[in-house]
Amino acid sequence: MASEIELADVQAGYGRAAPVLRGFSVAVPAGSVVCLVGPNGAGKSTVLKVAAGLLRPSSGRVLVGDADLTGAGPQKMLAAGVALVLQGHSVFREMTVAENVLLGGYTIKDKARVAERAAFVRDLFPVVAQRWGSLAGLLSGGQQKQVEFARSLMVDPKVVLLDEPSMGLDPKATSTIFEQVARMRDAGTAVLLVEQNARRALQTADIGCVLDLGRVHVSGPAAELLADPQLGELYLGGKPTHIR
C-alpha cells in the first residue's frame, strides 16, 4: 500500500549552521502510526517541521500521496491534508479558547461543518467546553495543550503530525490523546508521532523509528523496538524504578 506521506533522503537545517537532518527517510502508510523517538536535539521536531512545510529541506523529497510537495508551504500542505501539532505551547494566547478552536477550522468553508467539529472536540476535551470563553493564554499548561490538540482536530486530515502531544498532560488526558490517535488510525489516517513518553507511544504505534544525529538509527515494527534491551537503555529509558 502506498504511503500517505513520505520523506525521502531529506537534508535540512537552520541558517548557516551544520544541517540537522542528513539523509533522513520515513514513510507513513495510511491507517498506521509511526512513532519517532530519539534523544533531545536529534532532530525529531525538525522532521515534523519539514513534513508540514514549515521548514524547507535543502535536499531530498517530501511526498504526500502521489504528489511531490517538496518545498511547499504549510498552507499547501494543509490543503493536501497534512496537519501538525507543534511542540511546546502554540495556542493563540490572547484569543479565547473558542476563537482558538474555531480557527482550527479556518480552511473549512462550510459553517455547519465547523460547528459539528467544534461540538465533537468539546465533547472530547471537557476543559475546552468548560473554558470556552476564557483567554487561552490563561489556561494551565496542560489545559493549553488540550486546546491545541482540539484545534488540530477541527479538520480531519489525511496525515497528522504530532510533536510530543502528551507533554504536560495528566494521565487522563494522556489516555484521551492516545485513544484519539488510535481512533484516527482506525479511521485510515496516517499518524507520525514524536514522543518522549516512548514506551507508551510505541505501544500505540505500528512502526517505530529511532532517530539520532539526524539519521534513522533503527526502524522496524514498534513491538520489536520495545523488546530490544539496547535500544531501551539508550533511547526509551529503563524502568525508572531502579533509581533508588
Binding site: 508540514a52 514549515l54 508551504g73 504549510p74 498552507q75 494543509l78 490543503a79 496537519a83 501538525l84 501539532v85 507543534l86 502554540s90 495556542v91 493563540f92 494566547r93 490572547e94 484569543m95 476563537e99 474555531l102 480557527l103 482550527g104 479556518y106 480552511t107 483567554l135 493564554g137 490563561l138 491545541e148 484545534r151 488540530s152 477541527m154
Partner: protein, 295 residues
Amino acid sequence: MPSGGLVFQSVILGLLLGGLYALLAAGLTLYFGIMRVVMIAHSAFLILAAYLAWWSHERLGTDPLLSMIVTVPLFFGAGVLFQRLLLSRLRPITLTMMSVLLTFAVALIIEGLLGYAFTGTQRRIQLSYGSASIGLFGARIAVVKLIAFGLAVVALGGLYLLMKRTTFGWALRATIQHGDAARLVGIDTDRVAGYGFGLGLATAAVGGTALSLDTTIYPSLHWHWIGPLMAIIVVGGLGSVPGAAAAAVLLGLMQSLLQIPMGTTWAQTIFYLALFATLAFRPQGFFGGRLAQRF
C-alpha cells in the same frame, strides 16, 4: 469662574476633539496592540495624508474628502508593502525595539520628503464651509469638526467590527500571536500581517484627511501628535479599539475643559499625567487590554 456657556462650548469642542483623537489613534492600536509594532511613523503618515488632501484641493479644487478615494487604497498598499518588505524581515526577538527605530526612520523620510515637496510652510485647506457652524443650545458646532467626527465614528466602528467579527480579524490576531501555529491552521500569515498593517495605514489616510479639514499642517507636525496618541493607546489599554476610543474622548474632553483654567500648554500635560497614572495604577490600561500589559 467660567460661565456655563463656556463650559458647555468646551464640552462640545472636547467631544469633537476626542473623536478626532480616537480616529488618529486607531491605527496605532492596531499595530501596537495586535502586531507588537511601535509605529512612530503613524503620525507622519497622518500628516502625509493631510498633505495629499490639501494638495488635491489646491491643485484640483476638489473637496478634500474626495482625496480619500485615492489615499485610502494607496495607504493600504503602502502598509502592505511596508510590512512585507521591511517589518517582516526584522527578527522577532528584537521586533519591538527595531520597529521603533525603523518606523522612526520612515517618519524622518516622510518629513524630509514633505518638506522637500511642499516646503516647511504651514498649510491649511481653505474650504467654503471652513468657518460655517451650527448652533446648539447657545453653543456652536463647526461643520468641519462635525465631519471629522463623523469620519471617526464610521472608521472606528468599521475597524471594530472587522477585528471582532470577521475571519480576517481573527486570522490577523492569530498570526501575530503565534505565526507558526497560524500557518498550520492554514492562514496565509504573510498576507494577513500585510493586510493588517495596510489597514492601520488606511485609518491614517482617513485620519489625516479629517485632520486636514480644520487644522494647519506642516512637515514636522507629526512630532506634535506622537505623544498624545501614544498616551491615548496606553490609557486605553494597548490593542483595544474601544478602549482607545474611550480614552481619546475622555482625554479630549479633559484637555478642552482644563484649558479654561490652565491655558493651552499646561492643559496638554493631561495626556502625560494620564499616561503615568495609568502605568502606576493599571499598567494594562483603564479600558480593556487584558494580557497586553507586558510585552
